[in-house]
Chain length 133, copies 2
Amino acid sequence: MSVIDHNALESYSVSGIEHRTLAAARDGLSDIEVWDDLLYPGAATPLCRHDCEKVVLVLAGSGELEIEGETSSFAAPCTLIVPRGRLNAIRNPGGRVMSLITVFGATPLSTFAADGKPAELPWRSASNPASVR
Amino acid sequence: MSVIDHNALESYSVSGIEHRTLAAARDGLSDIEVWDDLLYPGAATPLCRHDCEKVVLVLAGSGELEIEGETSSFAAPCTLIVPRGRLNAIRNPGGRVMSLITVFGATPLSTFAADGKPAELPWRSASNPASVR
């Protein structure tokens, strides 16, 4: 299908993160996956690495980006660039909700924890069919 | 650089479209390019094809997506999926400004007109350095 209504997508809430997968392999794609995430104050993404490039658009909020142990501060509106294979995390230590659009250069996505082991995502990013929430 | 301030990016206005390149080869990427575009009422993207997948997030507005002669209506919030190599255009015939985030699965980007000839973009998507607008 060419047009995907965001109101028909499944939404996941876990550890202060509200997640929807906007585009992925389920939509016939092989090179692009797109996530829409809200990080509530105090929330953080787990330290992980992917076997593809990652670009994060920060639409609202401010926080910290960690890449291989180096931390940068950021505030919306900005773009975060995470090269392929780098261990990274995004944290929201502030008092506002952070709104992120995350783009990956592959789908389905392979995610690895800091110890190098495959990490399971709490959402089925590549295969979950759209459904009314 | 890991954090790109959107307020430091160059902006282009042409044919009713206001454009900024949020991420591209200039940022060290090879697999992802991201655009931020406003289409004012009456504006349309030219019919073109790319040698990569294209995903468009419609944040505001409504309009028409044409892919290989088939037209679909859409309204925000939604995602548009354009498979690799398909001739496509987005039109805003309505009375509201359309806000789009466009993701390509390659950078630098190769764009072709309907006649198959390489199309020049009005902005230097892959190479323009960030500068104060």
